[in-house]
């Protein structure tokens, strides 16, 4: 093959500016045929911009791009297709009500009708070649995230792409799905395809790539062989200074009662049990981690605790001071508003930051006001106090924003998360529930978030941390609750439990656990009768 000798892609001194912001400055990048190149960089380091220039979405200000040794100018996604470049975007571009096959063939030239048999056969051929698992006649809206991603990849392959760009493909996948994706990528590599994978997860970079190209703040730093790199060396190149990679877990903080959840059961509108007899305690001064495969009831748990999801059975007892007495108040059946009015401060950082957490088109001040405008007396709202709060948050949490009046949607993911967390912490809660707080965040921002959670823990706040990265969960939490299909498959001590054991618990509810749960309930009953 002659292609193996030339570079699939060569970008020379590519520069792109948006107004006064330099997104890429004299970036050089080489991609060989038959290799997986990881493009590593923090959020806002210009990875996606660089790749968008390859896929024809942006056009570089200056610099040259060579594809298979020939200088080209890519002015539209169509040009990119013609050169065999296919990009799989972070947000899938698929039509929900159409089938996988229909999405794959969309917009392609051809006869008046589509030969569906032939199309399905072709898709199966591609699937078999690289080890995909897909049903061409399944509709997109019935698919899991991982299946949708598969459709996107096949769509690109079907169009004959030899150069594939994947923008943060693992951000939405479970560890198992990620492993499956990597197997496919390796199969494609063996088929002499050139692959660029954008990511900031270091262990993935190390496990899948052949070489790593690092960008920092729009500047090209270096390309290194993966074999010669370590997590530490890559981080330093990416961040520009040495960072400690271990997450702090402050120990010895006095625990106090906060939340007792007892046999919590929730049923969704289709009659499916989303939470089944969930019982656990959360203490002030500790971080309770919640692990589980996506869709194991994490969302329902959060929403049931905050009064957003109807509860079928069980109780949620919140330890609180009422008129000078400490009582356990049952929160079941109370609306979020009532819960807030009762003086129970509970902060909730939902997984869908711009959907449930913040209003994207409002600015920081207005978003902060959403939480406390009821405290105003009289018909007018006070904008001064929230404005000051916003300014303080910007300073304390180092939020990068043009100003307090910039709509939230213009901020980057990490900064949006800081705004949300900052606002919730501002009301000094007794209980803080966070769901996937570091999703899509780069290393620096992630660690800022972890620090914030630890600070809250030190203050005596009970933190419930719903996460997906087991490494992080094991390091940060004091106790780890594992969910499996809406049931609690165990609450373990992360200091003594391995990742593999938790992985098993995530897919299987053991008998021992059922016993534990039964014991816990018995103890509770006894305690209740004693009182």
């Amino acid at each position: 093959m002659e292609n193996t000798k030339t570079n699939a892609v060569e970008m020379k001194n590519v520069t792109k500016t948006f107004g006064s912001v330099v997104a890429n400055h004299d970036v050089n990048l080489t991609l060989r045929t038959g290799e997986i190149l990881a493009l590593l960089g923090e959020n806002g380091s210009g990875k996606t911009t660089l790749m968008n220039m390859l896929s024809g979405i942006y056009f570089p200000d200056h610099g040259e791009i060579y594809i298979h040794g020939k200088e080209v100018s890519i002015r539209s996604p169509k040009d990119a297709f013609a050169l065999g470049i296919g990009m799989i975007h972070q947000h899938f571009k698929l039509v929900d009500v159409l089938t996988a096959a229909e999405n794959i063939v969309l917009g392609l030239p051809g006869g008046a009708t589509i030969n569906r048999k032939l199309l399905s056969q072709k898709i199966r051929d591609i699937s078999q070649k690289y080890g995909f698992d897909i049903d061409p006649d399944k509709k997109i809206y019935q698919m899991s995230v991982s299946e949708k991603q598969t459709v996107e990849i096949i769509k690109v392959l079907y169009r004959g792409a030899g150069i594939l760009i994947l923008d943060e493909p693992t951000a939405v996948l479970t560890p198992q799905e990620t492993e499956k994706l990597f197997r496919v990528l390796r199969a494609m590599k063996d088929d002499n395809k050139a692959i660029i994978i954008i990511t900031h997860k270091l262990h993935e970079v190390l496990s899948v790539s052949d070489r790593v190209a690092i960008l920092r703040k729009g500047e090209y730093i270096d390309t290194v062989e993966t074999g010669k790199a370590t997590q530490q060396s890559l981080t330093e190149m990416m961040v520009g200074h040495s960072v400690s990679l271990s997450i702090d877990r402050p120990e010895g903080i006095p625990k106090k009662d906060c939340l007792k959840v007892h046999s919590l059961t929730c049923i969704n509108s289709d009659g499916v049990k989303k939470l089944d007899q969930v019982s656990f305690d959360a203490f002030g001064g500790e971080i309770l981690g919640v692990a589980g495969i996506a869709g194991s009831g994490q969302k329902e748990l959060c929403e049931a605790l905050t009064g957003l999801y109807p509860v079928k059975g069980g109780s949620i007892l919140f330890h609180n001071e009422v008129d000078g007495h400490l009582v356990d108040e049952n929160l079941v059946g109370k609306s979020p508003d009532e819960i807030i009015k009762k003086g129970i401060s509970m902060a909730f950082v939902p997984e869908d930051r711009l959907g449930m957490g913040l209003v994207a088109s409002l600015d920081m001040v207005d978003n902060i006001m959403l939480k406390n405008y009821r405290q105003n007396s009289g018909p007018f709202v006070d904008r001064e106090t929230p404005k000051k709060t916003a300014e303080r948050l910007i300073e304390e949490l180092q939020i990068v924003t043009p100003g307090v009046h910039t709509p939230i949607r213009r901020l980057s993911g990490g900064n949006v998360q800081k705004v949300l967390l900052g606002r919730e912490i501002e009301c000094s809660p007794q209980l803080l529930i966070v769901a996937y707080p570091a999703r899509g965040l780069d290393i620096n921002s992630s660690y800022t978030v972890y620090d914030l959670l630890n600070q809250q823990k030190k203050k005596g706040v009970a933190v419930i941390f719903i996460g997906e990265d087991l490494d992080v969960l094991l390091e940060i939490s004091d106790r780890l609750l594992v969910l499996c299909g809406g049931q609690v498959s165990g609450i373990v001590d992360p200091r003594t439990t391995s990742k593999e054991e938790i992985g098993l618990m995530m897919v299987h509810v053991g008998d021992q656990n059922k016993e534990n749960q039964a014991n816990l309930q018995k103890e509770r009953k006894e305690a209740a009768t004693h009182e």
Binding site: P77, K78, L98, G110, A112, I114, Y141
Partner: protein, 325 residues
């Protein structure tokens, strides 16, 4: 029994303009444009169809086939013109679709009634009317022996040509959405224009074409009201709410052209119910209300039943702008 067969026969004839309006609007909505101007486009089609027929009689040598073809073409063009205005405003200038559609209804209604009156004033008799030869063109066709078969002949082979044309159009459209490549691309545009754009589909062209052709089909529906329902005479306000019924029928038909045939017949039947099953003492106004009451009931039922696939194209009502994030 005879009554039922007569009712069914009349229902098909009365439901055809509804079917045409519904088909036009389905095509439009499939491209992601919610055009509430069906009523207006039907009015434009009605008056232009009549004018086209009259013009053909005058200049192309008399009544008959030429006049009918003229009416068909001109009414299509008039509806398409209304839809072109709508398209330019919403697709190119990105004006609000609801407001533009409502405005088009007001404009079209005025356009129809204004030119209808002018046609009437300029004719010798004082009202605009096509000749008997042309009127005959819009009468039920007699298929010889076929039409004489008892029951079946009356049910299947005793309609004017536009009825058959509409049913054929509905089936063609169903095939187009389901099987053809262009139809698939069009559905993608209506569901998710950004995705369609990224797949290399010219979103603007698809939207323009679907909306304009859809408007033209609505225009033919209006021509039917004037030429068949009103016998080729201009009657002030002749479309009278059929356009609005068509908009609702799109929902009832769940954006499925084949199902629209059935919906057209049901609602056509409701509009003529009074003639076949009169109940003594019941005011005619009550019968006039029935189609609208049923529309409300149908809308309530269809909104309760939620289905991903049989629902409005997702981007319907929203304008597409590539650079918006």
């Amino acid at each position: 029994m005879d009554n039922i067969i007569n009712l069914l026969n009349a229902a098909v004839a009365a439901g055809t303009p509804l079917l045409l309006g519904t088909l036009g609007e389905i095509l439009t909505e499939k491209s992601g444009n919610l055009n509430l101007g069906v009523e207006g486009m039907m009015f434009m089609g009605a008056v232009s169809g009549l004018a086209g027929g009259l013009a053909a009689e005058q200049w192309l040598g008399g009544a008959g086939v030429m006049a009918a073809v003229g009416a068909l073409l001109i009414s299509f063009l008039a509806g398409a013109l209304g839809a072109l205005i709508y398209s330019f405003l919403t697709i190119t200038l990105r004006a609000n679709q609801n407001v533009t559609g409502l405005t088009l209804t007001i404009f079209g209604t005025g356009f129809g009634n204004f030119f209808g009156e002018i046609l009437g004033q300029r004719s010798a008799t004082g009202f605009a009317q096509v000749t008997q030869g042309t009127q005959a063109m819009f009468q039920p066709i007699h298929f010889g022996a076929l039409s004489d078969i008892p029951i079946l002949g009356k049910l299947l082979f005793s309609y004017n040509w536009i009825v058959y044309f509409s049913v054929a159009l509905a089936i063609l459209m169903a095939w187009f959405f389901k099987k053809s490549r262009t139809g698939l691309n069009l559905r993608a545009v209506g569901e998710d224009p950004a995705t369609a754009d990224a797949a290399g589909i010219n979103v603007t062209r698809y939207k323009y074409l679907a909306t304009i052709v859809g408007g033209g089909i609505c225009g033919i529906g209006g021509m039917y009201m004037c030429m068949v329902t009103c016998n080729g005479i201009w009657v002030h306000g002749c479309v009278s709410g059929y356009g609005w019924l068509a908009v609702a029928l799109v929902i009832f038909a769940t954006w499925n052209p084949a199902r629209a045939i059935l919906c057209g017949i049901i609602f056509g039947g409701l509009t003529v119910l009074r003639m076949y099953f009169p109940i003594k003492g019941l005011a005619t106004q009550f019968y006039d209300m029935v189609p609208y009451i049923v529309t409300i009931v149908v809308l309530v039922i269809t909104s309760i039943r939620q289905s991903r696939e049989h629902s409005q194209p997702k981007s319907c009502g929203n304008n597409y702008f590539r650079e918006e994030r």
